[in-house]
Amino acid sequence: MEPVKSGLRITISGTVQGVGFRPFVWRLARSHQLIGSVQNSPQGVNIEAWGEPSQLTLFTQRLSLEAPPLAEIIALNSQPIHFASPLSSFEILPSSRGHVSTLATDDVALCEACVAEIFDRDNRRFRYPFTNCTECGPRLSIIRRLPYDRDNTSMQPFSQCQECLAEYHEPRDRRFHAQPNCCSHCGPRLWLQPAVFDAELPQNDVIALAAQLLQEGKLLAIKSLGGFRLTCSALNEEAVARLRTCKHRPDKPLALMARNLAMVADYALVSDAEKIALRSTVNPIVLLKRLANTELAKSIAPDQNHLGFMLPGTALEHILLADLDVPLVMTSGNVSGEVQIIDNVIAQRDLAEAVDFFLLHDRDIVRRLDDSVVRVLPEPMTIRRARGLCGKRLPLPTSLNAAIPVLAMGADLKNTFCLVRQDGALLSSHMGDLADGGTVLRFKEFIADYLALYGNSPKWIAVDQHRDYVSTQIGQQLALELGCRVFAVQHHHAHVAAVMAEHNINQDEQVLGVVFDGLGMGVDGELWGGEFLLANYRTFKRFARLQPVPLPGGARAMKEPWRNLLAHLEVAGLSMELKGLANSLACMERLTDYRSEILLQAVKRGLNSPMASSCGRLFDAVAAALCVGPETITFEGQAALLLENTAQSEFDRVFDHYPVNIKVGAHLNQVEWRAFWQALFLDLQRGVNKTIIAAKFHRTLIAITMQALILQRSKTAVNKVVLAGGVFQNTLLLRGLRENLMQTGFEIFAAEKLPCHDGGLAFGQAMIALSVPGDK
């Protein structure tokens, strides 16, 4: 007897396009003897299936349980169908059109099957640099618009050859509907050319030639997945120094790429968890503990305890690195102050003086995507959220109602912006600093691109309360253009909200937020940066702060750590007393010349010396006291990073700290510095080792935080602690605080998937905007 057939219409939303979902459905349906169809829709995937009821049930269950690794199902709904199947087998139908609510997925590191193919002499993709399949390859970097079909990507100009087409249409093939599918016959072409003159180079195996040039110490600009990269041998000091000069990047560590884990292990310690991170589909730069005395060029990461390593992520990188027995420097290809270049013509215009050769190809990079940077502590820490990560939807806290689309603008440094839709938030890729002319001019284009790609038209725009931020000004302009309401969010509140939302903290819940960062505008018009907030998403109250200290010369104080020491000692009333040490203490020498005299006068007159309760500047002041780092830093956080490195060796042996003095006020407690500086300078005069003083400083900050939190818990019974702000990239501080807080019974929440610094701020801004009730 013919079994009874019933039908189901199943709609699935989430990350289900471009991840091999339809072939998966096709295979699953066939294994359960179902007939019907599967189809990409703007909302996700639609399935109509008919078969035996028990088989249909099993099929539905297995859909979510066995979905491909890159897929992420947000919702799966099924309804019975009361008519018979129009089809006699199970088919994959062309995409339907309509309002877009699906997601563009991230670029994925080359899968093992593809890696095997490009190194297999007998495979038709042997050494083909644009190899990929449904499990891997480019996505966000080539997508012009959704839905994700080849015609909507920069693969559109490349028509597949017969062999590729056969793979593309064969449901059993790994390349079934792999949109960027191609081979050397029909796909993008790679070529090598000298930077200055137009000489013909042999083009039969350009990757081997490029490898040879790199080995010889040449500088190359390579068109990579998400943008141009500058590269050279990491063992060749001359080449690295040249690269630093032309990038105007004197000190900031450079990222490295090694061909495999074994080579990484020649230069750095790699834990199992770090190995997993390095080999993940995200293909990030992972910060690793550096080994001493390697052959690495000195200027790769001067004075740093860590190295940033990544493994090859594309077929091109796999082939290039396989031909080399040295690691490569891999840094974004741009002239300083400009965004990473993605275009051949601009690269040849702007980088011609910097490099010797260009390794170019003819597939457009649609969207600029920097490399992501992570650490494993063992908790994950995201330092830059970009390629491989930024396409992931961030779930909203379950209690927040996202009925209204919000665009949050972020801050000016390490900018990311955030779009909120009903199904989650999208935090943009790392945009760079809006202090840079090139980034500012393109910022609106970037936002327009995201809005168009995700079909988002915001009703609200959340901006930082700092009215002079470029991001705030552009947010206000956009609000006028799009007819949106503007909502200004306090900087440090947004930091707290971002971490709260990452951990799905409930809307009604209060937390004790510890926000340590450089600077942000406070509600009182002063600059904040060392704040203790009692907060929920909607509101906050500051219950304690670090003692405000002037910034002599304003923004200049962010570049020159010694200015902060000068100001700290002045506020602590110790300048006069310590002047006498000019001949015995190196740090005081600097603080007694005529420039310091003038600056102190400027501070007294209130001339460009705004007050700031900044924790970042405290780190600068201590670094200056210990003469750690240069007089003028060349990248943000440099002095603090060097101070952390100095403390590293003693941190787990030193548990005492300098005096903690919290002045209790009626509305606001304040951490005061006089006793701290007196004790620190006493150590300096006694000749106590820098490493110990640096460790004691870290312990002091931990003790301060503990005391402030315990005091507040006794008043409010709030037990959840959120650690937020860029200073928490400091792993000693973070680990030490975690340990202490745990022992004292606090629940701890810190940023993991999002950066703790301003790169995660937009997410928090959006959450605060969502929490405001009423008509949006």
Binding site: E338, G437, Y469, V470, A602
Partner: protein, 350 residues
């Protein structure tokens, strides 16, 4: 003439005397003040009349008028004082149209307690500045406010001039491709005032650049008038304010080369130490010129032949893209956006 009214019994005391409330009352004390200070100062060089108006004869040409009020602390500074500043400032405003300045009016608001010696010094300084510039101060007004309600003295000057040459300069006339020329070092005035006011003891001293620019402008107009699209004096808000204004009014972008901007070592050093951007600092004897690039080099040569244009330099270009935006290409090879100045000459802090 000085004997025609009955003054108070004693002459004004220019050693210890101060401005009193009755000096603004309209009575004898006021008449005495006007006669012994302003009339003495201005009658030699100007056609000062004691009427409440002045009758003027204008040569043919387009007539230009401009007014500005001067508020500055300290009143006396290296390179000038509020008096010379009030003359130069309004002359320069007229000159930026390409006009030849002819007449000034002056209004004083004096604070009770201002030393009469200072007032006399200021009046004489104004007279000298006007005489040097060939401009007549033709009418004026005096008011006195109570102690604490003024900063010593405020001065308003209004000027009249006539455009005789071939020039049509305006803020909306900058065109893509134009060269941007500055007539000399930037930031001198603002830094000179600031160091004096705040008591900052730098190793070397600095003078304000306060000067009347119409002579330089006349030379420029005579040689290349039709090629000049816009002239502006970068006073309050500095070069940054002018460039942003012109970029917005003309709907063009601008790209500056930081290394080409002339700046005195002392000013650069002070700015770096105090964290100030010299492009935001006020000038009182400099102009910015937007001209067709073909004539830029020749115009520069002409400007450099004039004492007030010795350090003139081509500092950038007007561009089509990114209208309203002013970019500075930094010495480091990067670029930054030159935004509108904030309220004070302070940099933004992120």
């Amino acid at each position: 003439m000085s004997q025609m009214f009955c003054y108070p019994d004693t002459p004004l005391d220019f050693v210890d005397g101060v401005v009193e409330m009755n000096h603004g009352s309209g009575g004898r004390a006021m008449a005495q003040l006007i006669d012994s200070v302003f009339l003495v100062a201005f009658q030699e060089t100007s056609k000062w009349s004691k009427n409440d108006f002045a009758e003027l004869h204008l040569p043919p040409g387009r007539c230009v008028m401009s007014t500005d009020s001067y508020v500055i602390s300290p009143l006396f500074f290296p390179g000038g004082d509020i008096g010379s500043l009030a003359v130069h400032g309004t002359i320069n405003d007229l000159a930026m149209s390409g006009a030849r300045p002819l007449y000034l009016s002056v209004g004083f608001i004096l604070e009770e307690g201002l030393p009469l010696a200072d007032l006399k010094k200021i009046a004489l300084s104004m007279a000298k500045a006007a005489a040097d510039a060939g401009v007549a101060i033709v009418t004026g007004d005096t008011k006195v406010v109570e102690r604490g309600k003024g900063d010593g003295v405020f001065i308003n000057t209004t000027g009249l001039g006539v455009i005789e040459g071939q020039i049509d300069a305006a803020g909306n006339r900058a065109r893509p491709g134009d060269s941007i020329i500055v007539s000399g070092t930037v930031g001198d005035h603002g830094i000179a005032i600031m160091t004096q006011r705040e008591g900052l003891k730098f190793e070397s001293s600095l003078c304000s650049d306060s000067a009347a620019l119409h002579g330089l402008v006349a030379l420029m107009v005579e040689t290349f008038g039709p090629y000049i699209h816009c002239l502006r004096d970068p006073t309050r808000g500095g070069v940054a304010a002018v460039l942003n204004e012109v970029a917005q009014q003309s709907e063009v972008g601008m790209v500056l080369t930081e290394a080409a901007i002339p700046i005195k070592k002392m000013v650069a050093g002070a700015c770096e130490l105090l964290g100030l951007d010299p492009l935001f600092i006020a000038n009182e004897g400099k102009l910015l010129c937007f001209c067709e690039s073909e004539v830029a080099e020749s115009l520069l040569a002409v400007m450099r032949s004039h004492p007030l244009g010795r350090d003139a330099a081509n500092i950038g270009t007007v561009v089509l893209k990114d209208p309203g935006m002013v970019l500075v290409e930094t010495a480091m090879g990067g670029s930054r956006l030159l935004d509108w100045p904030l309220g004070e000459p302070l940099p933004r802090i992120c």
